[in-house]
Amino acid sequence: MIPPVANPDPTDPILRVGGLTVSFATDRDPVTAIRDVSFDVNPGEILSIVGESGSGKTVSLLSILGLTDPRTTTTSGSVIFKGKRILELPDREMRRIRGREIALISQDPMTALTPVYTIGMQIAEQIRAHQSISRRGARKRAVELLGEVGLPNPSEMVDRFPHQLSGGMRQRAVIAMALSCNPALLVADEPTTALDVTVQAQVLDLLRRLRKDFGSSIILITHDMGVVGEMADRVLVMYAGRVVESGTAEQIFDDPWHPYTWGLLASIPPLRGPRPERLASISGTPPTPANLPPGCAFAPRCRFRFEPCSNPPPRYKDDGHTALCFIPPEDRPRLRATVLGGERSAA
């Protein structure tokens, strides 16, 4: 267990998540959606969490923010934000962190805003929840924020209802709202998945600019390796509720360790160069938390599985790079070459 830090050093991680495990009570047995997730977020850093749908990305975020339903959810582990253990905070104090210090951008801009209020009202509402400022002052700030995120005509947009905006504009409004209290940490849950590539490029540009101008740390959840490659400083690869690999973006892209990461990278069709005859796909489908295989959860789909894989895999660590896999370091290059080779030789 990490002892709470009284006076945080500016270079210390602003968020430390240790051994986070979340399970849900369901009609049948309780299911464990995420298991033993640990990571740090350093100041000014973009940490990307990638994984297929159902791998537990959203659940990790929501439990960090304390937004899971306490009636059906049990959470264990530690989440330390700026030296404070926040999982144990009473709701009243947690509310002061939510929206002010940690802000959320959720996946679908079409449904993330309350349909019956103007976007200006919704932004002002958040500002007024955390600062004593007049109604008019909050509205003025909302107009400024909308301008900052690059919405045209912010003073007119502020009175628009969500349905009167396009998807890209709504996502900007959501981002403006998240920024309204200058949060130290921005958590973005698939912020561009529902958008077209051209609009995605605008939004990613905006996030990069925010990091530069405000020095916010960002947790960027996505399933798109392209977005990761472009945005992330560090990467967490999740599979079936566990972090199977983590490291810097260079480590993940240039020297990935886990066969799942290999498959993930190889299954993306390239945009230039020769086209492979067939894509290197991962066979099968991801397991659901209710029927996880014993041992390594990826083993049934892994083409390199061998006897030990029916046991819980060890975590290899080296220079901040970790992987949850039995494959010994010296075998990795050779095995990975067969993944790439299958792809190349067919081309």
């Binding site: 077209d196 590539v197 490029a201 993306i268 290197a280 796909s281 489908t285």
Partner: protein, 346 residues
Amino acid sequence: MTDAAVLAARSQAESSAPPLLEARHLSKRYHFGKRLLPGSGKIVHAVDDVSLAVFPGETLGLVGESGCGKSTLGRCLTRLYEISEGELLFEGREIGHVGARQLKPYRRKVQMIFQDPSGSLNPRRRVADILAQPLRVHGIRPRAEIDDRLRELMDLVGLPPGYLDRYPHEFSGGQRQRIGIARALAMEPQLIVADEPVSALDVSVQAQIVNLFADLRDQLALTYVFIAHDLAVVRQVSTRIAVMYLGSIVELGSTDTVYGRPAHPYTEALLSAIPEPHARQQCERIVLQGDLPSPISPPPGCRFHTRCPFADDRCRTERPLLRPLDDGRSVACHYPRTEVSRTAGT
């Protein structure tokens, strides 16, 4: 009756055979809003004067941002929607405006696959019933052979025959898409129009289905129209590409030509917007400003001029038609990028 646009629609087809399916000046409009009072209804020009030819054995990729009319065009091509204007020819015969009876043989030869197959799979019927129904209705196979055919279909799409007794909800997204494909194949079609067939799937599963499409094409000599907004996927499966913007085709050519050197500024922007994992540190990116204009009141002149970084007065007034370039592809732009750079280079 082959005007310039129709010729441009055939650009860079590899085969010299006549087109399997050809759309000529096809338009599709939706009317909505109150139509009691004249002039109060609104018209969406979802597909606007599109000419397109699909040749036997090829895969024609249809790309563009959401709302540009890809699905509408796909459904017009399969005659799921009525065509507002223009002609549709299948193997040279006009089928755009014929009645249901004359359409029946065509309905068999052209099948559509959707993004979310569960919407079209009856949840109360077993897979075997779902697949056998078209065989019975169209009398494709004698009754005695149906069981064998079902096994064959499951084998084609890579599912164990034991799954025939299950219900759609027992399958994962990727497996359901395989069943959707099997159902289309049951009709022994010549042409399959696939509308975003892999968009709802996870990357690892997406790659499996993309591979399946390629395998089936080789095994069954199928022709595809493959609609998707993911340009990397479309590049992987297509031999030719049509890029759509606001209801029109702006660029059409072989995959390598279009991806290698896009001629339309829109294609160029679209390609440069894709984040790439393999080539990290992106070079210059063209970020399009603004949003797609409304298809209810499309801008005059070139539809793309409101977002085009190179637009001038001519673009704002005169609408460019799809025309062939020297390198074989067709483009609807007054100042194609390839020509601009060539003149700039000399």
